[in-house]
Symmetry: C2
Subunit: 200 residues, 2 copies
Amino acid sequence: MASLTGPEIERLIDLLAKLPGLGPRSARRAVLHLIKKKEALLVPLARAIADAAEKAAVCSVCGNVDTRDPCSVCADERRDPSTICVIEEVGDLWALERSGAHKGYYHVLGGTLSALDGIGPDELSIGKLIERAREARVTEVILAMNATVDGQATAHYIVEQLEGSGVSVFRLAHGVPVGGELDYLDDGTLSAAMRAKRPV
Amino acid sequence: MASLTGPEIERLIDLLAKLPGLGPRSARRAVLHLIKKKEALLVPLARAIADAAEKAAVCSVCGNVDTRDPCSVCADERRDPSTICVIEEVGDLWALERSGAHKGYYHVLGGTLSALDGIGPDELSIGKLIERAREARVTEVILAMNATVDGQATAHYIVEQLEGSGVSVFRLAHGVPVGGELDYLDDGTLSAAMRAKRPV
């Protein structure tokens, strides 16, 4: 099939189609929308993307993505320095931050251990976590990995590494999601919620 | 809530969230993916978007979006000059072009008539269509608007405007979509398919 449109537009469609959540069809729709709103959307987006490409940096302390290093979370001195919450990815950090549930600092692993994908401890930011956990002011590490096989195996490995460091190690509670219906939950979640039943 | 990340990154998330098919959550995920693949994705995307912003143009003949004017479809002299296919949006033109079903030229209306949204004939590219339809070489106009109330009202209006111009006017066939299951089709489609039944 001949090209439908100019090479610059085709290239933009191809690149946008690589984003998670977008495929070729939605990328085409997005590009047409962008071109239709050239002044309101395409031109500002060009500037925003160039700015982000220039300034985005990975925090050298925790692995968060920000335009400053250390990131704004690590630089915030009102936080509780005794607690580090360990997450797999930056998106998890942002999700926890939005929930407002954690007042301490974070540590982004950058993934999970995975024999299948050849990801060992050295590919993740585990060594740096152990180092941070040994700082005198840190007394608590919360492992907030995903409740997947790889996530839990990684948590298990970190627990072993932290032995003897003197910090208390926690994991997130399992249970019924708020707003969740029992009928739609898997057996594992229901069993976990029952085992961890609480007095009312 | 305090900002999770730098203002340049927040701004990029806000802009991406305005694209059709993306919301705030998927825009955040897309931006993290972009920053993770900075050299492979973010930097090329910055260049592609700047190129598109500079070069994208609306074809002055048919309304297609391309990096040249007249667009590559209008400039293609191997096409059948006797037929113009009328569509609502550029995305419809691209969809028909991908199907390879139309060998003539196109005309993008830029939407449909809509009393509710205050869109009358002057807001659409209808006058220019009538003009093109009066050219001696044009003998056939195919109305390929969406099978919606607004689309069909617009088609009806164009049929009236084309009266006396000497061109034959067609519309797309209604019927069972290829691969479609009867049980899932609405009554209107089934009735249309039955009325238009064909000998095998």
